[in-house]
Symmetry: C2
Subunit: 156 residues, 2 copies
């Protein structure tokens, strides 16, 4: 049987868009998502889950209401559930996120349609994302979903 590892670098070459997490693997009810971030996100929290950030390239800053943490390549940080935070990256940073299935980046769980593993990631989120980013500070209910990338032939 052909088993194949998930190579983060190869996966990152499959897309350019920022702020659009792509599911690359699943473990039980959890998803591993890679994402490219640059600039500022909105303040949010996750009421029902911790959220794990593992930085693969670049530097991420996570702001909290009472401080901040710098997470560089080769480092990880777990944001505890219920803690308001805001990711920020001065230059593009490449991350691995780990969250339970169905978690939204903005913390508004419960609205999302459960994503499924799919080949490629052609979708129409680009425009949605662009609009979202502009409106993010104003529109508290805006959410975006992660999409999934799974090369054909991969086991995950």
């Amino acid at each position: 049987m052909g088993y194949e590892a998930i190579n983060f670098s190869k996966k990152f070459k499959l897309f350019n868009e920022q702020w659009e997490p792509k599911v690359v693997a699943e473990m039980n009810d959890y998803q591993f998502k890679i994402v490219k971030l640059e600039g500022d996100f909105i303040w949010h929290d996750h009421n029902n889950t911790d959220e794990t950030f593992i930085v693969l390239e670049g530097v991420l800053r996570i702001d909290f209401r009472d401080g901040a943490v710098r997470v560089a390549a080769g480092e990880m940080f777990v944001v505890p559930k219920g803690v308001e935070h805001k990711p920020y990256a001065e230059q593009e940073v490449k991350l691995l996120l780990i969250e339970p299935r169905g978690v939204l980046n903005t913390g508004h769980e419960g609205v999302v349609v459960q994503p499924r593993m799919m080949s490629g990631f052609g979708d129409s989120q680009g425009l949605f994302m662009a609009l979202l980013r502009r409106a993010a500070q104003l529109c508290r209910n805006s959410t975006y979903r992660s999409v999934q990338i799974c090369e054909s032939g991969s086991d995950h």
Copy 2:
């Protein structure tokens, strides 16, 4: 408030022993464990959970009854629950493991005393581990527990 990222390289400098996973962070009911491996482990499976391997340095091979996967630095692999596997590393490999709390590396869940976050990791597992490694192929019930490292002042 002082927030601090978990730096894998710094954590690996805190110990030399192989085959002894150290818990460096927790997310909900899951644990992130770093471990140094070299040589062969025993065949085992986990009936109740998938198991995630993220290679940080070196190359890991995971053997299955019907094949094998090579996982190099910058790659990950999720072993599905119930699938027999045997990790192997020709030279020392440094890994991040992700598993639910209480999982034993040999797959014999249910026997372990739940580990707790602790400072340092002074314990008497070294001898146990040495004995285990020699006896591993013969003694199907041998297990080992992960220990936890948490630098004082760290949030995790």
